[in-house]
Point group: C2
Chain length 198, copies 2
């Protein structure tokens, strides 16, 4: 018979999460060490891994909640009115993802569900992101020949590639935004007359 989780345990977990958040806000995600967290939390190393399967699982939570907060903002804006509106709306999220290479790496690695059961915070957030995009794309002033779902897929694909590029070339948000705007223009509002049936 499974017994309920003890209060002591949840408190330990919350304490570790709190310490981790503090460390991240002090020195960023990439420099966080598990040792730091357990020292700050006053527990042994093993305890950490009793609460989180690995370091990535902690990062999944920390980054996932950040993304989720940014999605709250995104959710608050109305339906998309233009390409520029789309770009402006998702830029905060992309800025966060490109703020640290490590964050982007984690995000990509944990973006999908590895197994059906172990869907993490980031994976959940991405599903939510997709739902939000689809909802705001519906009825938007964009191409009608493909579904909002497919439009959303494209936005995500271009977003990821733009962030990846911006991390490589070490340019700022400016380049990211401009490149994305061009790509989304071509994706969401193609100007082609379909003269040929190809």
């Amino acid at each position: 018979m499974a017994r309920a989780k003890q209060l002591r345990s949840v408190k330990t977990r919350e304490r570790l999460l709190g310490c981790a958040r503090e460390i991240v806000s002090d020195s960023g995600f990439a420099d966080l060490r598990v040792e730091q967290v357990v020292t700050a939390g006053g527990v042994a190393k093993g305890t950490f891994f009793a609460h989180f399967s690995d370091k990535d699982a902690l990062m999944d939570i920390l980054i996932g909640e950040r993304v989720d907060a940014l999605l709250d903002d995104l959710d608050a804006v109305g339906g998309f009115r233009s390409i520029a509106h789309v770009v402006e709306s998702i830029m905060p999220l992309l800025s966060f993802l490109s703020s640290e290479r490590y964050v982007f790496d984690i995000f990509l690695r944990l973006s999908g569900a590895l197994a059906v059961e172990k869907v993490g915070a980031i994976a959940k957030a991405i599903c939510r992101y997709d739902r939000i995009l689809v909802q705001k794309l519906k009825g938007g002033p964009f191409r009608q020949d493909i579904s909002a779902e497919l439009q959303s897929e494209g936005i995500q694909a271009f977003s990821v590639s733009s962030v990846a590029l911006s991390l490589c070339t070490e340019h700022g948000d400016k380049t990211l935004r401009d490149r994305l705007a061009i790509q989304l223009q071509a994706w969401l509002s193609p100007k082609q007359m379909p003269d040929r049936d190809m």
Copy 2:
């Protein structure tokens, strides 16, 4: 005065590379250990890092040369004649990238030049990939409202996102190919009448 690289050194490096290739062909990229390589090569661990800045640098070479070989095949086909032709042409590359999660991770991490000087094999290969795509897209039966360069960017973005998704959901190439085909159809041959000026 800088002295020339000694023959012994080149031979050591080549031996390490050879051993590494063997190990990879035996047990894949992810399971390769630096210790394995140096043991097989009959040198000390430090020697490895005298020849490669880190393990990633070795992977960059090994994966880069694989990609380059696949690009040779791609280069051999003529200009793109259809969406299906594009998909079939690049599928070998995408299959390789999705063969191991580790390979894809390395590929993404090293896909851009971190510094201007240290452009690795993978980054070079991607540049070549882009050039090849652009060349084969020019004059293709696709949309005319955007440049071949932009078309190529989109293909790369959709490719990456398709591979990433296929790694998460653990489906085979089939799903990857189908999803990519749909996305590229919408990207390269939009069916929209531009009735509105948006």
